[in-house]
């Protein structure tokens, strides 16, 4: 289980996160929804070790990972698929995937992971020799997801995977997330698309200007009036 207690993050003089606590049980999909600037990305980046100025404790499977380096956290089985895809545009699809497995040394297992990624995303196999930058937006998002899975993480954190995608592709992304979850991976999902996220989430937290204001089961929040008026356009 991933457990966050009283996490605070400062950027310059601004308090981006004002002491939040949350839990992600193993094997579940947990989502964090909220408006722009609520601190969703900061939370994920803190867990991944990309933010240094933080206080509070983050523990993964009873182990304190608060002060670990990004590569150490990844080695613990916690991977981040960053916001805005951030694939490597000058590297081929295959090279992108291989870099996703950078921390793994077992070559056969990496080959297997590549096969698995191609099975999950057949389009990537067709384009394995193309440069990442030449893919379409949807394909890039698939590549970003596949790349994040290459380290074979137990917990996959996804930052706005549906951002800037056509409605049909958004559905596809949510379908893939559920599939990843079914394979036994724990998912922590950050989304602006609250409707889609709440539909697949086991549990959800609502973040507002750095504080958690609401939490509950995904389906319950879908019917919650405050959520409907603020995030679901009701």
């Amino acid at each position: 289980m991933l457990k966050i207690e009283n996490l605070k993050v400062r950027y310059g003089g601004i308090q981006a996160i004002r002491g939040i606590s949350l839990e992600v049980p193993l094997g579940k999909i947990v989502t964090l929804i909220g408006a722009n600037g609520a601190g969703k990305s900061s939370t994920l980046r803190s867990i991944a070790g990309l933010v240094k100025s933080k206080s509070g404790t983050i523990s993964w499977k009873e182990k304190n990972i608060t002060t670990m380096l990004p590569e150490e956290i990844l080695a613990q089985g916690v991977a981040l698929c960053p916001e805005g895809r951030r694939i490597f545009p000058q590297l081929t699809v295959l090279e992108n995937l291989k870099l996703g497995a950078y921390i793994r040394s077992d070559k056969n297992a990496v080959e297997e992971s590549i096969e698995r990624a191609f099975k999950l995303f057949p389009r990537l196999k067709e384009r394995s020799w193309q440069k990442g930058g030449t893919l379409s937006g949807g394909e890039q998002q698939m590549l970003a997801l596949a790349r994040a899975l290459m380290s074979d993480p137990e917990l996959l954190m996804m930052d706005e995977p549906s951002l800037g995608l056509a409605p049909l592709l958004v559905e596809e992304v949510f379908r893939v997330i559920r599939e990843i979850n079914k394979e036994g991976k724990t998912v922590l999902l950050v989304e602006q698309n609250a409707f889609g996220a709440l539909q697949i989430a086991d549990y959800a937290y609502v973040l507002e200007v750095g504080e958690i204001t609401l939490e509950g089961k995904g389906e319950d929040l879908l019917r919650d009036e405050r959520v409907i008026s603020a995030y679901l356009g009701g």
Partner: protein, 347 residues
Amino acid sequence: MKHSTKIILNIALIACFGVFLFWAQGNLDGYKVQILNLIAVNTILALSLNLIYGYTGMFSLGHAGFMAIGAYVCAILILPAAQKEMMYILEPVIWPFSVMHAPFFAAVLAAGLVAALLGLLIALPVLRLGGDYLGIATLGFAEIIRIVFTNITPITNGALGLKGIPAYANLPWNFFWCILTIYVIVKLLSSNFGNCLRAIRDDEVAAKAMGINTFRCKAISFAVGAFFAGVGGALMGSLITTIDPKMFNFQLTFNILMIVVVGGLGSITGSVIGAVVITILLEWLRFVEYTVEIGSFVIPGVPGMRMVIFSLVLLLIILYRREGIIGGYEFSWDDLVKRVNARRGRK
């Protein structure tokens, strides 16, 4: 193509080139041989900057500084003690620099190592900076080196510089180091480490999220680049036999940057071809600086005019052909075979 075939082809290519060099040494005049030498040295320098800037994305303007370090370390090591004693007229040369002596190969190696060490030293604080800030910081570093070398007279002979450096850097030596540089950098970049460097260049945050220790990779890349810049500086010093601190100004860095950009950022083939083209053009374009007489009309020559032309060319390339003159193409035997076969198929 099989790996062993490629090795044989590489050796054959180097052998052919060796024969050409042997012929050039005997049959070309001194001026042309000197240009060939400069091509080798410029290739080394361009590749080292391309590793830092083109492949790792660190905008570094400190190359002249590393070259200065390399040139001075090598020169002090290969100058005979008696000659040093005579040359240092402002202040006598201090021990142990007065008696240091090493064979040429060891001196060039030492030049590279000292440059790499200093590169690593400044990498620790400045590599945390990104983009333009890194450019300014490394530019400052190069200036500091220049000023320090002007003022540590008992070691560097101050503003007078060092003269009569033994001219060991002939065609075989220069091209030996040139080919070694190409080999090392190609090996480095085709390994997984090379992919890490490119990943850092493309997106550093994403590279970190992949578990890549970006700082370590950047520091290694910077140090290797500094090493070969030091080697290039050492060869340059021995080639022109005279060095002084003023020589290692920003103009020198700019020339190398120009080769890298013209050849194409992130292309080894581009850097080699860029070095050949720019080195030859820099010499050939000297005619624009001569006084021209058309009948009774006299156009006075303007020193530095060729740099104006080069700056314009650079501007045009950045505007219209950002991937460099050869368009980001990278030479490989497989690709050559494919092209030849495609041509045969058409006939």
